[in-house]
Symmetry: C2
Subunit: 239 residues, 2 copies
């Protein structure tokens, strides 16, 4: 039985994740936003590496079938309908639409997860359902990989904390388990912080969002189990 | 006052470290080996990205002035005089010589530190002297960056633990200090592990070395303050 955590999308090498069960986490904010969109009725979310790619992917689509969403330096991309805020993904806005989402850190994490089967999309807002689903995959396969989006190729506390929470739940009751160094340390973080709120208020990403008056997104993202949807990513679509 | 820790050499972006005081750590084993070599009388250590580069760099040098050293998958490179073991760097072997060292993780970390001023080479074996020197840089500049070599682009516990120990000593007595997420978590690790031995015996790199019957290198690397040398890296030479 083995669990590997990767603190950034740069960790896994080509082929490291082929056929493995993978969880992708970008709490502030991409995976939180994706979960909110799908829980609120979006047909699919298509991650794009850049705003240009998002525009290109939608060039030949019917205008009323999709929404462009995304951020650059945390702020809504000019000309896009939505930013990367989970609070914008209301049923009124997203129901029935395909959301094309361009984000700085979330998209590289999903791209790194390609080849995984299944690739589950996780955050605090769906943590209970995620843990159940990931736990089932782990018990069946004896193996799980968790990719943290991190922040501009660097370690991000909030994602590592979430990974630790997940490792803790998933490994419960299993005596012999191999953890890589990052999984071992992620697990240690669950004892260091009192809960989602505590971990999320100490991270640099939250400070940056607060400075941009997006502190409500942090509060939204720190609330566990708002949703029971666990999206999966396959063939460049999240559903 | 600010301290940034990078868990892998991929973290710092171009220009992030320009003119900053930087500490590079690769406890198992590159920086331990470099410190041992210089403490035992080597003239300089030249890091090379690959064995081929090490050979190329020495092509026109007098044979008795240098030594080729390095590892691939932890083992000595064929045809090289030395591996990447600190125990090989005895005064009898290295005194007066320039050591060309090819390592998997240590070299990328040093390359990432380029532009730093000074770039200090640290490990457990010189920890006391390192902390004093890095502390002086930090008090003068109000700023310090610590690059962990990690392991094949991934997080390595032993380097993160050392970074945490360093942050702890350096920030002592300073009330207001900005830490990035990785520095915050590295600091937490100093409470998680009882000491160098404890941290080093739990990491994947140590397990791998033990499997290759290089466990004595782990014990050597876990012994603090064997040396009082703090090498510096500038213009592709460590002296």
């Amino acid at each position: 039985m083995r669990i590997d955590v990767y603190f950034t999308p740069l960790g896994p090498k080509e082929g490291d994740l082929a056929g493995r069960g993978v969880v992708v986490i970008d709490i502030l904010r991409a995976t939180t936003t994706i979960i909110a969109a799908l829980a609120n009725g979006a047909k699919a979310v298509i991650p794009a590496a850049t705003s240009e790619e998002a525009v290109r992917l939608t060039a030949n689509l019917e205008k009323d079938g999709f929404l462009l969403a995304g951020e650059r330096k945390c702020l809504k991309i000019e000309g896009f309908a939505l930013g990367n805020s989970p609070r914008e993904m209301t049923p009124e806005v997203v129901a029935g639409k395909t959301v094309f989402l361009a984000t700085t850190n979330g998209t590289p994490a999903l791209v790194a997860a390609q080849g995984g089967d299944p690739v589950l999309v996780g955050a605090a807002v769906n943590f209970g359902a995620l843990a159940e689903r990931a736990g089932a995959v782990f018990r069946e396969r004896g193996d799980l990989a968790v990719i943290c989006a991190g922040r501009e190729k660097q370690f991000a506390l909030e994602d590592a904390y979430a990974a630790g929470r997940l490792v803790k739940v998933v490994k419960k009751g299993i005596r012999k388990i191999a953890l890589n160094d990052a999984a071992e340390v992620a697990l240690a973080l669950t004892e260091r912080y009192a809960g989602w709120d505590d971990a999320l208020k100490r991270c640099a990403a939250a400070r940056q969002l607060q400075e941009l008056e997006l502190g409500d997104d942090v509060a939204f993202s720190a609330t566990p189990d708002r949703f029971s949807t666990v999206p999966t990513y396959a063939e460049r679509r999240i559903t």
